[in-house]
């Protein structure tokens, strides 16, 4: 069976991407899917840009073992200050995981999805992973189950995945060429041996591709994650995107490499550059012609809890769960009410027609403008200095589209604060404010609820106009309103001296 791929309805005048609220899983794009698939996807926070403002997810860290090494991963890490894949604070047994899921689902009724994502590879821990899924599908049948994998053991466990009613699988596929793979994966554990180099990568790629095909043949939804590693697989990912689409993956999520020396990873220590936000966007746009792209991924921890972009894991540690009194039957009733009301809100929102630029008197040949938004739950909500991330939107005559999010904080205080090694984190000389302004490179406006005096001056000096006039307004309406204000000044016409034609 070939699964239909969500197609991005790219505006004719622009280079790819979609024109409505968000990308990849915007309502327009979902319209191409058959009802049963759309229903599976539209309230999943990790797949739907729209849903992630409303629905929450959690990961349970029951899968510590891994069967491959990636050059961007260091298995020594267990740092509570970090938010990135492969990192957890508290490993759980399947029984503890069930207890945690029931407690979270009762406390956070917006939770729809439970994933097992590590910190190792879930399918390298088949006993712990499938026992957790089995118990959960019995005790919390209203929660959707997902699993992420590097794909090496996928063909072996596809039937088991289907049996446990897991309808979403994420495979991390960074390459389809073993020569490229050898630069990403130093070794795999396969048939009782450690296999290095090109041969190891060849086997991994073969199993990933076989597993992908087997899943889509069974009608299981597959998302493909790829880590963009400049100079290693950047150009190559365009081919990856084409191939995984042809095999029936419904969404491609290209994520930036995280490579800090203080993480102690191969890439971090060898000073492999991370992609700039511009490089990431360029590649996502290039792949978008072939494939539905996902742009709201937050690269969360293997024990994350809550809405994307926030982590409430600290509220649900084992000692805290132990003293919680969970009435799951009552919680399920409440969850149903909350979900129905969110879906009602979303349906109403989907019915709304967004104002077109031409209706607002914006000339059709106006250049696009990138704007950064300190947003939360779909509105311009946060103080500039409090924003942990900025949502980047592009306004053009075709409308407003979500491009990416950019984090403002350092991921971690470094080996020092984690008590491992003796390396002092670099970059401490740059103030957080300067760093945050650098993060906004390419943007001409920053929308937030308030901006302080000092950042205001620095933002203006950097050529980014601070704007606090649209607090608590829906993001897309605010962005379009500001775009219109700029258009009125004539600064968007092609003949004007456009500072940054995006």
């Amino acid at each position: 069976m070939e699964l239909p791929v969500i197609s991005n309805t790219a505006p004719a005048s622009e280079g790819g991407g979609c024109s409505s609220s968000g990308c990849g899983t915007a309502p327009d794009a979902l319209g191409h899917l058959p009802d049963h698939i759309r229903a599976k996807v539209q309230d999943h926070p990790c797949y739907s840009e729209e849903a992630h403002h409303y629905f929450a997810r959690m990961h349970v860290a029951v899968a510590p073992a891994c069967n491959i090494q990636c050059n961007y991963c260091n298995r020594k890490y267990d740092c509570s200050n970090e938010s990135r894949p492969g990192v957890v604070s508290e490993l759980l047994t399947p029984d503890q995981a069930i207890k945690k899921v029931l407690a979270v689902a009762a406390e956070i009724p917006q939770m729809t999805v439970l994933g097992i994502a590590g910190p190792g590879d879930p399918l390298a821990n088949p006993g712990r992973t499938f026992e957790t899924f089995e118990q959960l599908s019995e005790r919390a049948p209203d929660i959707k189950l997902c699993v992420s994998t590097n794909g090496l053991n996928l063909p072996k466990y596809v039937d088991e995945i289907a049996k446990h009613n897991i309808d979403h699988v994420t495979i991390t596929i960074n390459c389809v060429d073993p020569e490229v793979g050898a630069k990403i994966y130093p070794w795999i554990y396969w048939e009782n041996k450690r296999i290095t180099g090109v041969e190891g990568a060849r086997i991994l790629i073969e199993q990933q591709q076989k597993g992908l095909q087997m899943l889509t043949d069974r009608g299981i939804l597959v998302k493909v994650n790829s880590v963009l590693i400049p100079g290693v697989n950047d150009e190559h990912l365009k081919e990856v995107s084409k191939i995984v689409k042809a095999k029936g993956a419904f969404l491609h999520n290209v994520m930036p490499l995280i490579a800090e020396a203080e993480h102690g990873t191969y890439y971090g220590i060898m000073e492999q550059p991370e992609p700039t936000p511009e490089q990431l966007q360029e590649l996502q746009d290039a792949c978008a012609g072939d494939m539905a792209m996902m742009r709201h991924c937050r690269q969360c921890r293997a024990d994350a809890v809550g809405l994307l972009g926030e982590d409430r894991g600290d509220e649900f540690t084992l000692d805290k769960i132990d003293v919680m009194d969970v009435d799951y039957e009552a919680a399920m009733v409440r969850r149903k009410e909350v979900h129905d009301s969110i879906i009602e809100q979303l349906e109403a929102k989907r019915g709304n027609v967004k104002p077109k630029a031409e209706d607002l008197g914006i000339p059709a040949d106006s250049r696009p403008v990138l704007m950064a938004v300190a947003g939360k739950n779909g509105v311009v909500a946060e103080h500039f200095g409090h924003a942990k991330e900025f949502l980047i939107y592009e306004a053009s005559p075709a409308g407003v589209r979500f491009i990416s999010h950019r984090k403002t904080e350092l991921y971690c205080g470094g080996m020092d604060s984690c008590g491992d090694g003796d390396v002092v984190g670099e970059g401490a000389t740059e103030s957080l404010l300067d760093r945050n302004i650098r993060v906004l490179e390419g943007c001409e406006v920053v929308l937030c609820s308030k901006v302080g005096y000092e950042p205001w001056a620095k933002l203006e000096a950097a050529g980014i106009a601070p704007n606090g006039e649209h607090a608590m307004e829906p993001i897309e309406e605010a962005v379009m309103a500001v775009y219109k204000e700029i258009a009125v000044t004539g600064k968007l016409s092609p003949s004007a001296d456009g500072r940054k034609a995006a």
């Binding site: 190792g120 821990n125 009782n192 450690r194 220590i269 090694g421």
Partner: protein, 92 residues
């Protein structure tokens, strides 16, 4: 003859699942190998399984204290870099 786990172990469970003798058990601060059960996989596999899957260099040693996965052997990070970052050890 038996292998041993050192304090470099990160408790990732990988070795536990692949040991043909059930010789590896959970302990604090890290997993340990029961030397009465460990056969170094002789007769079962061509290489000791714990050392073949272990992701951490220097975490498994033989009776003489020699690393089965010496520094740099798994990550490919050059020795001078390991020394620079304080990640280098001569022997257990």
């Amino acid at each position: 003859m038996a292998l041993q786990i050192t304090e470099s172990c990160v408790n990732c469970w990988a070795c536990v699942d692949v040991c043909p003798n059930d010789a590896i058990y959970q302990d604090t601060p890290h997993f340990l190998i029961d030397d009465g059960k460990c056969t170094e996989c002789l007769g079962d596999h061509s290489v000791p399984q714990c050392a073949a899957i272990c992701p951490i260099e220097m975490a498994i040693v033989d009776e003489l204290g020699a690393f089965l996965n010496p520094p740099g052997s798994l990550t490919g990070i050059p020795i001078e870099k390991l020394k620079e970052f304080g990640l280098w050890k001569e022997a257990a």
